[in-house]
Amino acid sequence: MAEIVGGKPVKPAPFAYAKARSVEHAIELTGRDSEARILAGGQSLIATLNMRLSRPTLLVDINDVPGLDGIAIKDGMVEIGALVRHAQAGRSETIARHAPLVAAAIPQIGHPAIRNRGTIGGSIAFADPAAELPACLLALGGEVVIAGARAERTVAADDFFTGLFETALGAGDVLKAIRVPSASAAARFGFAELARRHGDYALVGLAATARTDGGGLAGVRLAYFGVGATPLRARKAEAALARNALDDAVAALADDLDPPDDVQETGAVKRHLAGVLLRRVAKQLMEGRP
């Protein structure tokens, strides 16, 4: 098949392929090659390979690794295994009841065929700045369970996303699961996303959580996506919302967010749309259902 079509390569560059039998085996295989990448759903990774944005020399396929596709409540947290497919998460009663923010975000991820293969762990590990699930993890104050050559460790969402497509995952690490707090009776969530076409990456998106407290909100966490290199907390807007000052919160976004122009929109449009979404999501938080 053609390597160069019309002057631009449209097929992946050559790489080797290995199937991991276990998490330990995956760690061992990726340890052999500094330019190895882990292949889970592949819905983001293989697209980058097709366009030669990425040229790993080895793909370590973890799709057959057992024990990574569970959804369970453990110690007040919803634990979602890295290989849970988006479609599976979308059908999950446990997630619908105990992590409704995630349930609200899933239908926005790509399209049905993408959701049949794409995985929760892959979305978090790939950390596309316009993706929904990293922002949901940040809004929920969740954590990421990582296996590596060292002992298994847990990284809080606030510390996990470190740069553009960069996370706390290092060479030889395998993301095993994410955990998010199980929704209490006082928990509220909100989710809104603007995209040109259904299923597109977001122009701007907002995932939010809070607790009802008296007549107002406490513990507000606003996680924007599509506005920077990582999902971003809008902390001044959070404080204003907790004071029930919605107009102040929208104004505070000018300090909280400074979206760069990108291929989809200018920073100014994104900042404006961030305010539009904040008004919609604030309503969802106050009314208790999106």
Partner: protein, 161 residues
């Protein structure tokens, strides 16, 4: 650099197939070029257009975002097999009757995607149909006729059409 060739054995439209593939070969390119099953089409090669939609182990996937080497031991269904089996016959007839195809490039993907929606049962709303086929781009029809065709089949299958 050269990469090792992998031997894979899989079931394609009910037949066992044994081939040797480079790891970088996508499933849709493998189906088209190694097996001559050109009913699945290559469009955007990054998962958004849906022209490459096939079924792996009973669920629709993007053939451009799956590697052939990952399909060892799996069961693949393409438009050729699903058409021959008659599974899509009512959808195909409705598409033809309602002019839901012109050039036909998107059609195999549309049919497989529509079938997955309808297999869940019930009569989905037009909005639900649109959301479900949002990952299948059509450049010819403007989509209304496609939604009409899918809706009519849903109604007929539910006995309410």
């Amino acid at each position: 650099m050269s990469a090792p060739i992998h031997d894979i054995t899989l079931t394609v439209n009910g037949e066992t197939v044994a081939e040797a593939v480079e790891p970088r070969t996508t499933l849709v390119d493998f189906l088209r070029e190694a097996l001559g099953l050109t009913g699945s089409h290559v469009g955007c090669e990054h998962g958004v257009c849906g022209a490459c939609t096939v079924r792996i182990d009973g669920v629709i996937v993007r053939g451009c975002l799956t590697l052939a080497v990952q399909c060892d031991g799996k069961q693949i269904d393409t438009i050729e097999g699903l058409s021959d089996s008659g599974e899509l016959a009512d959808l195909q007839a409705a598409f033809e009757k309602r002019n839901a195809l012109q050039c036909g490039f998107c059609t195999p993907g549309m049919l497989l995607t529509a079938q997955e929606l309808l297999a869940a049962g019930g009569v989905p709303s037009r909005d639900t149909i649109r959301a479900h086929i949002s990952g299948n781009y059509c450049r010819c029809t403007g989509y209304h006729a496609i939604v009409d065709a899918i809706e009519s089949v849903a109604q007929a299958r539910a006995g309410t059409g």
